[in-house]
Amino acid sequence: MGIKIVPRYGKSFKDKLYLPAIFAGMKTTMSHFAKNLSDTSNIKTECYPEMKPQDITQRYRGVHRLTHRDDGSVRCVACFMCATACPADCIFIEGKERRDGIDEKMPAVFKIDLLECVFCGGCVEACPCDAIRMDTGIFSFVAKRRKDFVLDKEQLLAHKSFEGEK
């Protein structure tokens, strides 16, 4: 087996020193510290859960969703790459023949057990089809019964990205 090597970024001398990056970071921290200390009324603490955070970044890993193709159908081809990559072994897929002519294979069952998931994002990285994402912005998932934490294909497909895209 061969390995395909993807080029890495951050190879310059400055990047390798680390210290400039550390000081740049400390500068941000200290400036917030000084600002908050001088004006306590504007501190960015929110009263969660009454107030929900609005500043979720693009890279935040929330609950998963299954994405759609342009024609609105499921994008996933049940290749099991995500299930193979998943360290928690919490993705349960059953493949089936797809008969609508768009593709050959699709998932009959696609379940993620959120209680077992460690939100590592490995599944998103592994997917060759961009069919699974963790950009729903859903960061707290509450349910009363164990089995309600196991999301099925329909639930995952119904989730939207926090920017509203399907």
Binding site: M1, G2, I3, K4, V77, A78, C79, F80, M81, T84, D89, F92, G95, K96, E97, D103, E104, K105, P128, C129
Partner: protein, 504 residues
Amino acid sequence: MATITVDGKEIYANDNALLIEELLANGINIPHFCYHPSLGKDGNCRMCMVEIEGKKRPQIACDTPVKDGMIIRTKGENIARVKRQILELELINHPVDCPICDQAGECSLQNYYMDVGLYDSRLDTAKNKKRKHVDLGANVMLDQDRCVLCTRCVRFTKNITKTHELGVVVRNDHSYISTFPGTKLSNPYAMNVIDLCPVGALTSKDFRFHQRVWFLKPEVAICDGCSRGCSLLVDHNKEKYKDDVVYRYRPKFNKNVNGYFICDYGRLSYKKENENRLLNAYIRGMESEFEYAILKIERLLKRYGPKTLFLVSPTLSLEEIYRVRTLAHKLDAAINGFDDNFDEDFKDDMLRQSDKTPNRKTLKFLAINDSKEDLLRDLKGKEFVLLIGRDDIQIIKEMGYDGSIGVMNYRDFKEKEKIDIVIPIVSHTSRQGTFINCDNYMQFSSCEIQKNIQALKVLEFVETILNDGRVTCEDVWEGGLEDEEFLGDIKFTQIKSNSMKIGR
């Protein structure tokens, strides 16, 4: 004998044999698509290039005879460049849809490309599109896009089955594999083309999309479909929160028994390991506790003693039949192995045999009666018949028997209320054992899949009564079976790893 040097290492090879054969036999990795030991060389894929000293250009190893003193290089930048170029050509029209391809994980093209591929395509013209998922018949699906035109499948139907269903049609890079118009692939060995196809162009309709191959765990067993007893690889997997499931059988190479192939009937017989299993013990049709049922059957054996008949199935292993015979002798009871599971239409001149049980020869070697007349005689005066590995009670009913009956089998069946006691036993791939095929070849089936169902092993059952601590095949061999005359000098350690022919 010739001495050749491969990558600086000397190896001994047969004079005039094909170079690729000798290299593969010495564990040297030579990529190849069109060559297959059962089909011979064809020289069309050019994947097997090696450098031979004294030759200007790289040569194909599959069409070069071995000569003494040859110096060969299979590695290095030169040869890697050649392979990379061949693979680049191979991939010009290939769809590279590995995510939905069932072959991914056991695909030669994928493996070779990961070894020496170019990785980044230089192509900006559209690919030739052909037909995907063409149902060829006989459970074989063809994807013309993925085909590398090695013609292994064509040569299989031409040279091996001689049914000539497949051919290459149209010229140059529009060529594809097809059946002749209006015909389908249909022969009892058709599914072997799925294993022969080095890429995902031919896949099994039966296995397709049920499991990715890298999850499967292969185990060695023998087919119990007929008395040929082909060597098998049993691919099974236990998914999280589910029971262990057998997903497919594949042929395992065995030069004495089945060569590289198995028949489709045998290949699909894996289904009986998963479906329609007997899951409970029953006493007169009522579900019973497993342990209680075992105690009950022990009591019945004690009560009836010499009035018992053990009716064993020729699907049981040598060890199992031997132990039941020991038990029968101890109780002074009778033992019989009559079974009329023959099908003359099933027999052909490749592998399939009319005797559809895998171990009838064992009955002969162990001198156990197996004719109808013997059974009629053995039944006389019996009050308890215990069927082991079978549920065909009509055989004894038709002979007028109406005493107590016990059944130990893996398969569910109807009318359990007519039977005094029913106990589930493990199925063929869940216990180890030795089998003797129609040509007296003895093989060991080592596959022992742990299923999450309550089922008894016959060896354990006999041990609970005889109480001599012999529960594994090894114990049984060492505890007397090895002394059987027909086995000659064969020891358990030998049979474990090799198939062996036994006397007569």
